[in-house]
Amino acid sequence: MYHSVKQYLTVERVTVGVLMIAAFVLIALKFELWGYSFRKILPKSGYEVHYVFHLEGFEEAVNVRAYLPLSNKHQTITNEVNRSGAFNLKIDQTGSGREATWQNPSSTGDQMIRYSFRYLGKAQQYRLDSTLVIAGNYPPGFADYLAATPNIQVNHPFIEQIFQRYVGETTNAVEALQSIYEYTHSLEPRPFKGLTDALTAARLGEGSCNGKSRLFVALARKAGIPTRLVGGLILEPGRKKTSHQWVEAYAGGYWIPFDPLNGHFASLPSNYMELYRGDRFLFTHTANINFDYLFNIEKHLVANPSLVNELRFHPFNAYVAWQAFETIGIPLSLLKIIIMLPLGALIVAIFRNVIGLQTYGVFLPALIAVASRETGLFWGLLAYLMVVSIVGLIHYPLEKWGILYTPKMAIMLVGVVIAFMTLSIFGIRYNLQTVAYVTLFPIVLMTITAERFARTITEEGLRKAIQLTSQTMVVVAAAYFVMNSRTMETFFLAFPELFLVIIAINLILGRWIGLRITEYPRFRWLLR
């Protein structure tokens, strides 16, 4: 018998080895043959940006106009959501950008307009050909990029003086841009928020982003290089009110970015979100309101969109399924849930068999964690607690009356369904859209395990029941963080062969006879 046990162990070890090696070989093949690289696979760090406008009007027509970002080769904008209550949104494409106008024929009291989207940027770096000559003739319509304006005083004598001193006559575009950039960058930076024109910046020898940028534009135009202002936001997590301006100069057939305030020469960092071009205001509104605004920016990771596009035509990765799902209209979030579930189950197995936490339901924690993707962990745990307490309350009289198991469960299920519907409606009413997603929760499973909670109270006491519930919640939280990690998600999408590794780890766990961590303190009495 002992001999055969040993034999069995070998077979199982071989299986584990084969699974691990198969996964490793497949992954290696992808790198070697199909040009996978970690840079492509790793998720990009993007941002979720919220415009939040507060208005207070007095029974009059109100409108607010703001620029929205446009997807281009520098930035990708997705998941745009408008929440503007009574305000109608109209979006127009104009020469300067994408203009959104929110209108309300009669606005009274406090109102809020919220607009959010996800931003994924790509840093840009241009290498300028040092022999580039300032061309004399440009495409039609470029006259504006060379003209003087009230705030960009190209022809003012003082600007002329500065130009002669710092730039001088040259036909080399790169030399001219280099000198202008160095001069404007060297000016004392000032954190002024208001408008500074080119002349003032030059006279003071200092400037904010817009002052320096206007001076840059004025000097470049004077040199004969078409140049324009660019307005946008520098994205960093947190709340901010300050927008930013930089410039683009036309050289060698491209619009090349420069930021004289923060020192970016012919380059643009990935977190510079472009909103409009030209000497404009980021937003304007009718004068009959109190107005306040802020930008709320959260960092978050997203799958590299170019990878998704590229890999869907390669064999053996889940992006193939991705494409199939897309074609027949099944939500992609469902694919992600399915893909991440085995990982969640592994987390639960580790917590139960190695750490020794007890949970209600074997895979319930993983299911709650995955359902919490849409609502966030807080609402996920709250929903679970809600189910537990509702079932606990209903259980008491039903148990007392001796109601049979199945009808009892059915009654509890009705209670839970009513509670979830109420929570959803509450969420929608109070603008907590994410809460409405509680209806995605595995209601039946939650009810069944909540009944076990109620039974634990009668059989082993409230303390034990609460202890089990909190341990379940700890495992939910752990599974949530692992399953919602964008890094994990992209890895599993790109390398579904990792499932073999999951099976292998579970096989090892399933034959592991060591003490669970919580058993050490439990049996500490045996040490004396």
Binding site: M1, Y2, V5, N353, G356, G402, I403, L404, Y405, T406, T458, E459, E460, G461, K464, R511, W512, I513, G514, L515, R516, E519, Y520, R522, F523, R524, W525, L526, L527, R528
Partner: protein, 300 residues
């Protein structure tokens, strides 16, 4: 380093859930025979045929149709217990005593009408105490708590848990009810676990909620050093029970009746591990002692 050594020592001695399942339960207890332990009527039938002492079975009711007749036939006994064959955690157990006027009363002396009793039996049959699966109701004789145990704590029935592995008695403990356990002898429900010296049958210390006791926490009566009555017979019966079933790792629950002596109540295929804390000894350590240094299963 010292702390690490202590932890290693602990894992060498203590039987944890993982090893219990993988090395003690799975290879020793055939899955297809589980019903013999899970269904208390099947357990009792086998005990009866082997003449192993267990409470007398007055009746077993399997269908609603036979409820009336079977109940009438058992109602002549002055005392009885009604319990579900597949219940868990002591749920659904009704203890009844007939007073001099012929009226049924429960343990607290409350009058229980025949209709209520019939309803209780019907509930058992419908599976109220066994997760919706239909069940059988067992009506059996009531155990009279032995005076040795009654003196330690007056209510409920104390119960011995014997763990037998491959024919060897590994460990034993006595479970004495407390106020918190409300008469039940289940450690989960707050009963006091008392270690037993296997050779002498004397009680060692009691363990409850992270503390050791020599006296019962509710009554203050000392038990440490007291001998379990009929200890030799208890061991013999436990061995007989082990031999009667196709399992090689099991917990045998035995109560001691004032008049009838040791009676087997049920067997358990997944006996709990708390018995190690109660006896201040690891089961693995104990197996190793018995096997002369080799841990784990080594049958041939």
């Amino acid at each position: 380093m010292d702390a690490f050594k202590r932890l290693t020592e602990l894992s060498d001695r203590v039987l944890g859930i993982n090893r219990r399942n993988l090395e003690f339960i799975y290879p020793n207890n055939p899955r297809e025979a589980y019903a013999l332990a899970d269904d208390k009527w099947l357990t009792k039938q086998r005990l009866h045929t082997r003449n192993i002492p267990t409470p007398d079975t007055y009746a077993v009711i399997e269908t609603m149709g036979e409820l009336e007749a079977r109940w009438e036939q058992t109602a002549r006994y002055p005392e009885l217990v009604i319990k579900p064959a597949n219940g868990s955690g002591g749920g659904g157990i009704l203890l009844l005593t007939k007073d001099t006027a012929g009226i049924w009363r429960n343990i607290s002396g409350k009058c229980i009408k025949p209709a209520v009793i019939r309803n209780h039996i019907a509930n058992i049959l419908f599976g109220v105490f066994s997760f919706g699966n239909t069940d059988k109701a067992i009506i059996e004789s009531r155990v009279v708590q032995h005076s040795v145990f009654r003196e330690i704590y007056p209510d409920g029935v104390a119960d011995l848990r014997m763990i037998n592995h491959r024919g060897i008695l590994l460990m034993a403990m006595l479970r004495i009810p407390t106020i918190k356990s409300a008469g039940r002898a289940n450690l989960h429900q707050g009963a006091l676990g008392v270690g037993i010296d296997l050779d002498t049958g004397r009680m060692t210390d009691g363990f409850l909620k992270h503390r050791y006791y020599t006296v019962h926490p509710d009554t203050g009566v000392q038990f440490t050093g007291t001998a379990v009555p009929y200890w030799k017979k208890v061991k013999w019966i436990s061995q007989q029970t082990y031999d009667a079933f196709p399992f090689q790792y099991l917990g045998i629950d035995i109560v001691i009746d004032q008049n009838l002596g040791p009676l087997v109540m049920e067997i358990n295929l997944r006996p709990g591990l708390e018995i190690q804390n109660v006896n201040k000894k690891g089961l693995l350590h104990r197996v190793r002692e018995k096997n002369g240094g080799e841990a784990g299963p080594d049958e041939d």
